[in-house]
């Protein structure tokens, strides 16, 4: 479960002064739900996930992740989330197994439990062919599978996915989509940020449309369609952010 209440984030930029990246964002994402955060580039999707993941501190408002407060219990929050981005960058000089062991240790796993968990993920994500190979020699698809394994090594109840398919080919994107569907089946809460309409349409149970740091609408796809009177998600989205033809 993730709840955000009046969450704001203001950056101070030397040239632009105060930049509002998040403006009183409130929502609730439930277990077993894929909660989409849909917005154009620079809308505030990444900042929202970073604030919820306690990588950034909020300027105002509050939130809880898996029952832990992001302001007062940041370490517990991070212990209960899996964080996956579109970047497939890994530590090139380590093997896939070493990376999983490293992150597992950071999440507090050790000994037999850690080894068993790594073996489990190797089997689930079909990584046996390359698990002991150095990451700088892996293909993009293999690297993304390692990234997924890394993000769930501690079996987190909440997943934050920040445009996880950005720049990936169709086959690799499909692996990610299947992984998100699996997470939902296992009852995890998934926060999934994207600007790709088809992905949001296919995966999300509910969608929050974010624009210039503000959430302009939240609902199921049908609810958003009913609200805008549009059928295609692209038109629904444009209508909600006020960028439809003829609108400001």
């Amino acid at each position: 479960m993730v709840t955000a209440s009046g969450l704001s984030k203001v950056f101070t930029d030397r040239k632009r002064g105060a930049v509002v990246a998040l403006d009183e964002v409130s929502f609730e994402a439930r277990p077993g739900e894929v909660f989409g955060i849909l917005g154009v580039n620079g809308a505030g999707k990444t900042t929202l996930l970073r604030v919820l993941g306690t990588i950034l501190a909020p300027s105002a408002g509050d939130a809880t992740v898996a029952g832990y407060n992001i302001r007062t219990q940041p370490q517990e929050v991070r212990q209960h989330i899996g964080y996956l981005t579109g970047s497939t960058a890994l530590y090139g000089r380590l093997t896939a197994r070493e990376i999983l062991t490293y992150f597992g240790s950071l999440y507090g796993l050790s000994g037999k439990m850690l080894r068993r968990r790594v073996d489990e993920l190797v089997e689930t994500l079909q990584m046996s062919e390359f698990i002991d190979g150095r990451c700088d020699r892996l293909s993009t698809g293999q690297r993304q599978r390692v990234s997924i394994a890394r993000s769930i090594i501690h079996n987190p109840p909440v997943m934050f996915m920040d445009e996880p398919t950005a720049g990936l080919d169709v086959v690799t994107s499909r692996t990610i989509m299947q992984f998100i569907e699996d997470s939902r089946r296992r009852g995890h809460t998934v926060l999934f940020s994207t600007h790709i309409m088809s992905e949001a349409e296919r995966l999300c149970d509910r969608i929050a449309v974010i624009h210039r740091g503000r959430i302009v609408a939240i609902g199921t796809l049908e609810e958003l369609r009913a609200r805008t009177g549009e059928r295609a998600l692209e038109l629904v989205f444009l209508s909600l952010i006020g960028e439809k033809e003829g609108e400001e």
Binding site: R50, A57, Y91, R93, L94, L106, G108, S110, R150
Partner: protein, 397 residues
């Protein structure tokens, strides 16, 4: 395991697999330094030998007499080309047809036999190495001849050569705890150690934070339960270990180079005679601890502040001067220096190494130096930690 050590072991493993680091820390120090010094030694030896063998052409203007001197010249490795005009001789020197011009006094023989001073003027080209070598050879020859003529003059009056030297100084070096080679080592080694410790760790230090920002792996690391302090300390510890390893390998490489026979040709014959006792080695390592902690913290600060490795390299250029200057100063600073030097970071560590090598350890200097080094290192580490905890700095790639 504490998360700081989890980060440390992972970073260390990565560093040990980085060929650039292995080359700059170990291979270069253990192989290139001895090879370089061996090469220089061989060149020096070759130059000395060829200088001894080579016959030097000189132009000679001798208006009258001077035959004995001219014969000595021809027998002393010079080819004499007699000319009559000074302009012609100077032109030959400019065209490098001769290496020097020798002008004999008009009354050369008379002055010599009248127990006066016969002058030999030597013209040379100051920009030409062989011309300067020729002057040295001519001076040596003239000094030898002069000594012979003095003996002859004294013999004519039945006076012994002791007459010209009423007092003679005889120096005798006492048996010291450390061999003389340690003195030469104390000039070179502190310089090499303090520079190698810093520059050996530049590449991994920049890779560990700026590189991680650049590659985009830092975000996932920050999303783990490890606190920023634990992460930065893990990285800082790794850089410290690399600094220390770079210093130790540089020291071993230098000792190896000094042990080679070629070192005696570059420095002095005594260069190869050095010793380093176990307590001295321990003292050197203790001195290196605050120095490497300071270096590691400074490099971590740059790496954290920079958006990428290229930007970090830019910040490194002015900083390098602050490290190189005290390192160079240590070569020219006497071992027994004022206590104020103990307050200068880097130089104070170099001076302790110098004192340990010569066996002239001043306890007050060592204590103040170590206190200053520890304080500076602690401040730098605190700044590095604070900087790493700033979210804007970390996500500024």
């Amino acid at each position: 395991m504490n998360r700081t050590f989890v980060v440390f072991w992972k970073e260390l493993r990565e560093v040990l697999r980085d060929r650039r680091v292995l080359f700059s820390v170990a291979v270069s120090a253990l192989l290139l330094t001895p090879l370089l010094l061996w090469g220089i030694g061989m060149m020096v030896q070759q130059r000395e030998e060829s200088a001894r063998k080579v016959v030097i052409p000189v132009a000679l203007i001798a208006p009258r007499g001077g035959e004995e001197f001219i014969t000595a010249l021809e027998g002393g490795g010079f080819v004499v080309r007699r000319v009559t005009e000074r302009e012609q001789a100077e032109a030959m020197l400019r065209k490098r047809q001769v290496k020097a011009v020798v002008l004999l006094d008009e009354q050369f023989d008379e002055r010599l036999h009248n127990e006066s001073t016969a002058k030999v003027v030597v013209l040379f080209d100051p920009l030409n190495d062989s011309s300067r070598d020729a002057v040295q050879r001519l001076k040596a020859l003239t000094d030898r001849l002069s000594a012979e003529w003095v003996q002859r003059r004294l013999a004519r009056r039945f006076i012994g050569t002791e007459f010209t030297q009423p007092v003679a100084i005889v120096t005798q070096a006492i048996q010291t705890e450390n061999p003389v080679g340690n003195l030469i080592l104390s000039i070179v080694l502190p310089y090499v150690i303090v520079l190698s410790a810093f520059f050996g760790a530049v590449s991994p230090a920049f890779d560990l934070v700026a590189g991680e920002k650049e590659r985009g792996t830092i975000e996932t690391l920050l999303a783990t339960p490890a606190s920023r302090r634990q992460i930065v300390w893990g990285k800082f510890l790794t850089v410290t270990v690399v600094c220390m390893a770079a210093a130790i390998f540089a020291m071993l490489g230098m000792l190896l180079a000094f042990a080679l026979p070629s070192s005696s040709r570059i420095f002095t014959e005594q260069a190869g005679k050095f010793s380093l006792s176990l307590p001295a080695l321990g003292a050197l390592l203790v001195t290196l601890v605050p120095l490497t902690v300071f270096y590691s913290a400074v490099l971590t600060i740059i790496s954290t502040f920079a958006r990428n490795q290229k930007e970090a390299q830019t910040y490194l250029i002015p900083l390098s001067t602050l490290i190189v200057l005290p390192a160079v100063a240590s070569m020219f600073t006497r071992t027994e220096s004022g206590l104020w030097l103990a307050a200068v970071p880097v130089l104070n560590s170099a001076m302790i190494i110098k004192q340990v090598l010569t066996g002239i350890v001043e306890p007050s200097f060592v204590v103040v130096s170590l206190l200053v080094s520890c304080a500076v290192a602690a401040i730098a580490l605190q700044i590095a930690t604070r900087l790493f905890e700033r979210e804007t700095v970390l996500l500024s790639s």
